[in-house]
Symmetry: C2
Subunit: 163 residues, 2 copies
């Protein structure tokens, strides 16, 4: 398994790591099933208006977020690119490439999601890689920690209700 990044670049990452009380298989399904992802992916009252996932390296990953005022983000353009798929364990995707690995116009991050079965559920770790300090700070100021944590709560709520 490749490292998430070179150790010396760790200061460019943002990380959310928590244990959640659902098994890795359900967390995986919530992230990879385009019928389920829209139910939890955007921090409410935002919503996910559309979702497209082609679950293989080079496949598209797109989630269109919609503000409470109805403005959409991510509808235009080719969408992001899936890089690595290890079922129930590891999902990597980026907006620095589009589907088919074509370089993107406005690269911002790569997401490395790892799931580990632990006593009581899943060790959930989302590591977000940026190209530089400015992008990392921008993402932090956008509310990364609170936003991703809220969405993880929503994910748990959704998969518990579905189960």
């Amino acid at each position: 398994m490749p490292p998430a990044s070179r150790p010396e670049d760790g200061h460019l990452d943002l990380v959310l790591s928590r244990i959640v009380a659902v098994p890795p298989e359900l967390v995986w399904k919530a992230w990879t099933d385009p019928a389920i992802l829209p139910k939890w992916f955007a921090p409410r009252p935002w919503t996910t208006a559309a979702c497209e996932i082609d679950l293989r390296p080079g496949g598209v990953f797109r989630a269109v977020m919609k503000s409470p005022e109805g403005e959409e983000f991510g509808r235009e353009g080719p969408g992001g690119c899936i890089l690595e798929v290890v079922e129930h364990e590891r999902l990597v995707f980026t907006d620095a490439l589009g589907p088919g690995f074509r370089p993107a116009e406005t690269p911002f991050f790569t997401v490395v999601l790892t799931l580990e079965a632990v006593e009581g559920g899943t060790r959930y770790t989302a590591r977000v890689l940026h190209r530089n300090e400015a992008d990392r700070q921008k993402h932090e100021a956008m509310g990364f920690t609170a936003g991703w944590s809220q969405c993880l709560d929503q994910l748990v709520e959704v998969v518990t209700a579905e189960d």
Copy 2:
């Protein structure tokens, strides 16, 4: 196998496709063995001063090119990232990501190399994907077609001598 790109983006690509009189296994070795790649990778009188290849998705791909005047390109920075490895058939790497899939500061291209065994040798196809028309034109003006064709001649010469 993922498509090289969406069909509607084909005008953003540069392609070199030729049949060469060596088998796919030797072409593959020339591209993936860091002891052999420097012997052919730069169009002479340029040379390749250093090479680093970690042959797996997320691994580094770096080739430091050196001008006849001694100026080096690609020594600094993290290097590029390997995206897909299908032995003897398909190699994909990009400079839009660094090793570990971290977004790069200055993305320019993704290379999709495909090798097909044919009568008399190998159908060699190098497809280079750009993010926009300006980058494609810039790469074309840098001499893509003549440069990549010359390097392919050098590759054939080197692997024929090694064999």
